[in-house]
């Protein structure tokens, strides 16, 4: 038979990919879910059963409402549909209620909410500079779609561990796409909405602030790219301010009387430099560098007195996590203020850079990724899931530039691997390995094919580091549990994973910075706003 040319219209592959991943998500309905499932069930219950005035005071369950009000309204909306699945899940007293209908409803709500993410990805594909490829599999838009829709981290965090990140990242990516399309008001509105859905996105607010101020409020730049002070547009600034303020007032308005309570829930005072499982950031390396056997001992003590139940180690929500004292002996102890200063210092050069020499929307995106990564690297009590805030926006840059593709590969493979401890059950082990291999093989081969001109994408050192993840996985999940030390030092594989991945993440951070600070030549070709 003669091979006919593809007759499908250009969009059917997108639909096929979206449908395919949705089917996969449906198959995972029965998989393990973490305590985050109960968190969201509790929020469904309390928003449904109680008046809004009590939402931030309710404390029957330990999983109190710690997301901003718009998310609470979102849960309220969901609860009206939940009624038709199982009324019992909406009773606040039904702690840990997980009937099959409840599981089905909650899982489906995440899957359906991902429609926002699909739309955002479609919009992002439109923003790519060039979209030519010999065949479908080599098109940048196709590669970007798979990298985002089939992102390993998003799949396992949202559809196994259980969260609503797909929906939230959809709003973020849509906002970014709007900025690419020069629809800045919409982009700003979307970001304000996002901040009121989950306040962790404050990490990247500086990037938005500086970019909008520099590139939007100042309507023109000089020929060499520097600032033209006279082109300041008050109208734009005021409009932006109105948009942001009105969004916040709609969101926090009903709770204006209880603002301190709400804020205390959103930003709980908590000691503990690191989460129970150390996110692979600077502080993981810092802890190790300290060579303090006290840390090791304190972990051991907790295990002995069952204060740190290993099965509960990867805590789900932002208010989860256990109180831990990290007494560093050799190096100075780290306080929350110190981490804030470090974070600010780490992102300051990037902010200066886009103020001084903005690179249009792409420069903004690069700065956004750096802000996300900097906050991840130096932040206080960071969850390992926060790495997704850097990986997902970076995908957009990865399909357009060789250097970004290389950074993306290192960051995504390392970052995704660091999520493995989230799924610690034996049943999910094959799933996480298969999906990880799926995403890794695809990203490696497709980006390699996209940038085949100019030699290998990864240098030997980087390749060796990434290959080293295989023996690491074998040791941590297969060999170590069979040894004697599993009972006495059960946390050792987790520490090893954190530290090994921290190296990769730090390396990616440094490279990203270098690429931002040295990309001066391309600015002249690209027009700024």
């Amino acid at each position: 038979t003669v091979m006919a040319a593809p007759v499908t219209n250009d969009q059917s592959w997108f639909f096929a990919l979206a449908l395919g991943v949705s089917f996969l998500k449906c198959l995972l309905i029965n998989a393990y879910h973490s305590t985050d499932f109960e968190v969201h069930r509790n929020w469904l219950a309390l928003t449904h059963s109680l008046p809004a005035a009590q939402w931030y005071y309710e404390a029957t369950s330990e999983w109190t409402l710690d997301y901003p009000p718009l998310f609470a309204w979102f849960e309220y909306g969901l609860s009206h549909i939940a009624r038709f699945f199982d009324k019992e899940m909406l009773v606040v007293q039904n702690l840990n209620y997980a009937s099959p209908a409840t599981i089905l409803f909650q899982r489906l709500s995440v899957i359906v909410a991902d429609v926002v993410f699909f739309y955002a990805v479609k919009e992002c594909c439109k923003c790519l500079r060039e979209d030519k490829g010999k065949d479908l599999l080599g098109k940048p838009s196709f590669i970007l779609t798979v990298l985002l829709l089939w992102n390993f981290g998003l799949l396992i965090v949202d559809h196994i561990h259980f969260q609503y990140n797909g929906f939230l990242f959809g709003v973020l990516l849509l906002s970014i796409a709007r900025h690419f399309q020069n629809r800045h008001f919409e982009g700003a509105l979307l970001f304000s909405i996002l901040l009121n859905l989950k306040h962790i996105y404050l990490y990247i607010a500086p990037a938005y602030g500086i970019y909008l101020l520099r590139c939007f409020c100042f309507t023109q730049s000089n020929a060499d790219g520097s600032l033209q002070w006279r082109s300041f547009s008050v109208v734009r600034l005021v409009t932006l301010g109105t948009i942001v303020l009105s969004t916040f007032s709609v969101s926090f308005g009903p709770f204006i009387g209880q603002l301190p309570q709400v804020l205390s829930r959103l930003f709980p005072f908590k000691r503990g430099l690191c989460h129970a499982y150390w996110a692979p950031n600077i502080w993981a390396l810092y802890n190790i560098a300290d060579k303090n056997h006290l840390i090791v001992c304190s972990y051991y003590e907790r295990v002995k007195f069952k204060l740190l139940d290993i099965n509960k180690l990867p805590k789900a929500s932002m208010t989860g996590g256990l109180v831990q004292e990290f007494q560093h002996s050799v190096l100075p102890s780290v306080s929350p203020l110190a981490t804030l200063i470090c974070t600010v210092l780490s992102i300051l050069p990037a902010l200066f850079r886009i103020w001084h020499r903005p690179n249009g929307a792409r420069g903004f995106l690069r700065c956004l990724v750096i802000c996300a990564l900097g906050s991840f690297m130096f932040g206080w009590h960071v969850h390992e899931k926060a790495i997704l805030m850097a990986i997902l926006p970076l995908s957009l840059l990865a399909v357009e530039s060789r250097e970004d593709a290389r950074i993306f590969l290192i960051l995504s493979i390392t970052g995704h691997y660091s999520l493995f401890p989230l799924l610690f059950t034996t049943q999910e082990l094959p799933i996480k390995i298969f999906l990880m291999l799926l995403f890794t093989i695809f990203s490696l081969t497709s980006l390699k094919t996209l940038f085949r001109k100019g030699g290998a994408l990864l240098n030997p050192l980087e390749a060796t580091y990434l290959l080293g993840l295989i023996p690491l996985e074998l040791i941590c999940e297969f060999v170590y549990p069979l040894t004697v030390w599993q009972k006495t030092f059960p946390f050792l594989p987790l520490m090893l994973t954190s530290v090994y991945c921290a190296l990769g993440v730090t390396y990616a951070f440094i490279r990203l910075y270098i690429s931002l600070l040295t990309c001066s030549d391309s600015t002249k070709k690209i027009k700024t706003q």
Binding site: T1, F23, C26, N30, G138, L438
Partner: protein
């Protein structure tokens, strides 16, 4: 993107769906006293591990044949024995004689599911990959698409990883047999197929075409010269394989007789449960294949030169067959994976069909029908009729699925829906037999020329 990466992505997708389906229930879960196929497999591990070989197929005080007695050939028993050794290492309670009856636990389920996955990876998946790589016509994209379709076929996934069976072993071995013959390695092919036969006696349905093909090949090479020599080598391979598999049972003449009695229980009715129990369903499918093979001795070359479009037609046929398994799967509590995998498979096949081949009359091999109907119904737009029929079938299957699950049958006809499902499936099968046979009979020339090019 390179071939190896595309193929590995297909394999990983297949493996992921398999393991995800395995999260769901299995046959007979929590249903004493008999439970289901899952308990049968566990029981065989218990029997083969604890009892001596000569007791496996006999009714003794230690081995009650009424409670899931062994009724597959020896290779299944050996496979169960190997699994039992591993089970013993992990948790001896799983294969404790008598005491482990009806044993159910999360870790045991994981172990059993893992054994299925292991054999799948070892035997079935490599065979599928090699088949698609060497024997499928078309571009590499079509080969990858074929592999993906085969690996995502919901029937095998749900029966093996849901209901619980080891069909991937016997089907995989049979496929290795086909591969061997297709590549010209007759001895290897015969060996593989004989092993398949010794794993599940249902492979007997496929044995006739194998036999006819090899006999025909030897005759072609001249029965007095090389052909005879070849025939002797093949026969010897088959006999030695049989002997090796049945060796422990050859000491006493009563042994092989008892085994055969267990394998072919002509005393019992084979269609005890009119709701398509697995044997019944597979039986229908294999009957179809038998009919196909009886019509022509070129069955194997037909298999190895499946045009991509024809392949997708075959996939639809298999999909209808899968639909007929609905009552069984609902009984096992596998409704969700049934719905998801069948929809996924359907959409994938439809998408690939439209993306990789134009659906013209020629591709549909409708030329034959044209010739037949030209005299009687000249104004018929045949391709449109086929399309309508296709959508109508889908709607009918969807409606039947919905009613089977959610509506109560009228009191006078309690088995109404399963019977309707069976009837609908049978009608489809009949249509497909006619279609495939017509295709085969009317296009011998094309196949001969293709066979030469491979």
């Amino acid at each position: 993107m390179e071939n190896w990466s595309l193929f590995s992505l297909c394999v990983l997708l297949g493996l992921t769906s398999r393991w995800a389906v395995s999260f769901h229930s299995y046959s007979g879960a929590g249903k004493p006293p008999m439970f289901g196929d899952y308990e049968a497999q566990r029981h065989w591990q218990e029997v083969t591990y604890n009892l001596p070989v000569h007791e496996w197929y006999f009714n003794t005080t230690n081995n009650d044949l009424n409670y899931w007695g062994l009724d597959y050939p020896p290779l299944t028993a050996y496979h169960s024995l190997v699994c039992a050794y591993v089970a013993k290492l992990l948790n001896p309670e799983w294969v404790e004689l008598h005491a482990s009856r009806g044993y159910e636990s999360h870790s045991h389920k994981l172990f059993m599911r893992a054994t299925v996955l292991f054999t799948d990876i070892l035997i079935y998946i490599p065979a599928v990959l090699l088949y698609c790589f060497y024997f499928c016509d078309g571009s590499s994209k079509q080969k990858v698409a074929t592999a993906l379709c085969i690996l995502l076929y919901p029937g095998l996934i749900l029966i093996d990883y849901g209901h619980f069976q080891y069909n991937s072993v016997s089907l995989g071995l049979a496929l290795w047999g086909i591969l061997g013959l297709g590549l010209g390695w007759d001895l290897f092919g015969s060996l593989a197929f004989t092993l398949a036969l010794n794993y599940k006696q249902m492979e007997l349905y496929h044995s006739l075409p194998f036999f006819c093909y090899l006999l025909g090949k030897c005759i072609k090479q001249g029965l007095t010269g090389r052909g005879f020599f070849q025939l002797a080598k093949i026969s010897l391979t088959v006999l030695v394989t049989f002997a090796l598999c049945w060796m422990p049972f050859l000491s006493d003449p009563k042994q092989p007789l008892q085994v055969l009695h267990r394998l072919f229980p002509f005393g019992r009715g084979l269609f005890e449960d009119k709701v398509a129990n697995t044997w019944c369903s597979l039986n229908v499918l294999i009957k179809i294949k038998t009919l196909l093979s009886r019509e022509t001795q070129l069955f194997l070359s037909y298999c190895t030169h499946l045009g991509f479009c024809l392949f997708l037609r075959l996939m639809f046929f298999l999909f209808v067959f899968f639909h007929s398994m609905l009552p069984l799967l609902v009984k096992d509590g596998l409704l969700l994976p049934y719905v998801v995998t069948s929809l996924a498979f359907l959409f994938l096949s439809l998408y690939l069909l439209s993306a990789l081949e134009r659906s013209t009359e020629e591709e549909l091999r409708l030329g034959i029908y044209r010739k037949l109907t030209r005299h009687w119904l000249p104004k018929l737009n045949l391709s449109r009729i086929i399309k309508w029929k296709f959508w109508f079938s889908l709607v009918a299957m969807a409606v039947l699925s919905f009613t089977s699950v959610w509506l109560e049958p009228p009191a006078k006809f309690p088995d109404l829906f399963p019977v309707l499902v069976s009837i609908l499936s049978f009608l489809h099968f009949l249509g497909f037999i006619i279609y495939f046979n017509l295709v085969q009979l009317m296009e011998p020339q094309r196949k001969k020329s293709q066979k030469k090019t491979n």
